[in-house]
Amino acid sequence: MSQAFSTASDAPRPIGGRLRSRRSVRWREYGILSSLGGATLFSVLVTAAILFVLGLETYQFFRHDEVSLGDFFGGTQWSPLLGSTKYFGIWPLVCGTFLVASVALLVAVPLGLVTAIYLSEYAHPRVRAILKPALEVLAGIPTVVYGFFALQLITPGLKLFSEGIGAYNALSAGIAVGILILPIVSSLSEDALRAVPQSLRDGVYGLGGTRFDAAVKVVCPAALSGIVSAVLLAAARAVGETMVVALAAGSTPKMTLNPGEEIQTMTGFMVQMALGDVSNFGVEYLSMYAVAAALFAITFAFTIVGAIIRKRFREVYE
């Protein structure tokens, strides 16, 4: 064993045998790397496909004589199916969508945030061990179940309180969507709260602060960027939610701020078109793509703004 330097091939080896050929190793490495690269690029391809499909069909839609960009973005009436004149003003659908999403956020943000504070700042490990799985199960329930729940339980329940609530209404759908996004708000906010270093809580306790002082006056403000981004992600989810509104919100596009009324959301309209017997090439059918493009743009904006807020305003501790 006195050889100081030697090439790999004549270095003493405990067991005889040939080394793998370097070339074959390298070629296999290239082959694997390129297939993995292909898998990675597929996600870009998906984005391209979304943009291409929505862009192309939306372009076809606007080429029709019956529609104009001004009407689409300025009009307040949406009735592509009924009557002799078709109206393509997207605002009623946007209004319905945001009505449902607002109700959902009004339900989910307070509940989710307080749950997150409790889980991160107060809960005993044993209570956590019950609550966390419950929230996970709640998050895992299919959305069609929430739609059924809204239709079967929430709407009849609301009718007990108010006469004016119809069989289909935005309030009921909004509450169900709120329950659906509650786990998103709570788990993402909890992550943000837990990321706040323990030393800050110790700082509050060292000054004679209570847990309330620590949680509400220091930890929550420190985690604000994470909480805001959680709310934005939940909002994106609420805007794009389909099955609940298809079942419980109704199918009447309407400019209204009264959540007790029947409305139609963007997603609700898309489902109606996909289920209906409309010719595949008519302007009504193409309007589905224009609505989908608008929906995509809205949710994309929410997601991007959420990501930016999370990155830009995150406090960096040593």
């Binding site: 990675t40 299919p142 059924f148 239709l151 949710t299």
Partner: protein, 407 residues
């Protein structure tokens, strides 16, 4: 230094009288603390209450209709005979196909992003772009994926004709089907779905019970032949056929149409970002020291991945994959865009078959006005949730069984 302790010092700490005025009551602060704590407990427990209410209401409503018939029969307009079998099978097909498409792609992309960190600036920028892109894809509403699947897979932008006359297909034969007066079925092979209707001609070849025969055509007023053998291959002039198709297990066509394959591909789009992100997280959790040890022995990067990182990350990847698959099973919106609500009485037999899935059938029953169908919807939800519960339980088991510290 002691000068700043004078009674007229503006600093409140040095003014005992003022201190007594402004001092917050400690008791009050503790009361607030306790109230806030109880408020938190109440709100946090409301999620458990909600869960119990939702599940309880559905189980109470659906239990009565949850019978053997329900699990084995096809859907039917008659509530008492209606069953859930084709949707269960449809979901099973979707599950297997989606897993086959998604897992290699998702895990591969995660390995690429986590284990092959690029050194060059251009590739690093590409990598961070792809990472952002995946995060954004995870936020795209599933109904948008549905509409993309409809265009990209079902109709393939119209490049290959439409579903009724696909440009290319294999594993299917089209026939014109004649019924004759002896109640026999004569199948005359034709070229394609859009071929002109065949006319009964003497001497042309047809299939009767799988046997090739020569068709014998007789006039409108001619007497029906007595001979059994001749009668079975006899048609009367002017008999009109119907067009049918017979597809094999390997039936395949372009475009895919509203088929189970389209459904699975669309679900793949929905859960691919989820699988990638979950796999990335479990790969990231593998301690760097393990990788360094293998690299230090002279392993190539792929050898490190295959022999060290991937085995260590597999439980996490599997957990993520199972949770993603349970999301796929429960997903209704994209399938609704693709399959719509159609009456399906048979489970899919090949990739190009029409299909329905559990959440679709649930939607179908739930949106009907009659109350009996709502009971059926509730029963179907019980089945759906039971399946999902099994999935989640498996995921939890894997997580607990394999979650050993690695360093």
């Amino acid at each position: 230094m002691n000068g700043d302790q004078a009674p007229n010092n503006p600093v409140v700490l040095f003014n005992p009288q003022r201190m007594r005025q402004v001092h917050r009551s400690v008791k009050g602060r503790h009361t607030r603390e306790r109230l806030f704590r109880w408020f938190c407990v109440t709100v946090a427990c409301s999620s458990v209450v909600l869960l119990v209410v939702i599940l309880g209401a559905i189980v109470a409503q659906g239990m009565t209709r949850l019978t053997g018939t329900f699990l084995t029969a096809p859907p039917s307009p008659n509530v008492d005979e209606a069953g859930f079998f084709p949707p269960i099978m449809g979901s099973l097909w979707l599950l297997v196909l989606t897993a086959v498409f998604t897992l290699p792609l998702g895990v591969g992309a995660a390995i690429m992003l986590e284990e092959f960190k690029p050194r060059s600036r251009a590739i690093r920028a590409t990598r961070s772009f792809i990472q952002t892109n995946i995060t954004n894809l995870a936020g795209v509403p599933s109904v948008v994926y549905g509409i993309v699947g409809l265009t990209a897979f079902a109709s393939m932008f119209g490049f290959f004709g439409n579903e009724l006359s696909p440009t290319w297909e294999i594993g299917v034969t089209y026939y014109d089907q004649f019924y004759n007066e002896a109640d026999r079925v004569l199948l005359v092979p034709v070229d394609g779905p859009q071929a002109p209707q065949s006319q009964g001609k003497s001497g042309m070849t047809a299939l009767v019970d799988g046997q090739e025969v020569q068709v014998n055509v007789i006039g409108i007023d001619a007497p029906w032949p007595d001979d059994e053998e001749v009668a079975q291959r006899t048609l009367r002039q002017g008999d009109l056929p119907g067009r049918i198709s017979e597809s094999r297990r390997y039936y395949f066509r372009l475009p895919f149409g509203r088929s189970v394959l389209t459904g699975a591909l669309t679900l793949m789009l929905v859960i691919l970002p989820v699988v990638i992100i979950a796999s990335q997280e479990s790969l990231r959790a593998v301690p760097a020291s393990l990788r360094d040890a293998a690299l230090g022995l002279g392993a190539t990067r792929w050898q490190v991945v295959w022999n060290v990182t991937l085995p260590a990350a597999i439980p996490g990847i599997m957990t993520g994959a199972i949770l993603a698959m349970s999301r796929a099973i429960g997903e209704a919106a994209p399938l609704l865009m693709i399959a719509g609500i159609v009456f399906i009485s048979n489970p899919p037999g090949n990739l190009m078959d029409d299909f329905t899935a559990m959440p679709l059938q649930t939607y179908n029953w739930a949106q009907r006005p009659q109350r009996e169908f709502h009971d059926l919807a509730a029963s179907s939800i019980i089945v759906l949730l039971t399946v999902l519960l099994c999935f989640n339980a498996t995921a939890v088991l894997i997580r607990q069984k394999f979650q050993k510290p690695l360093s």
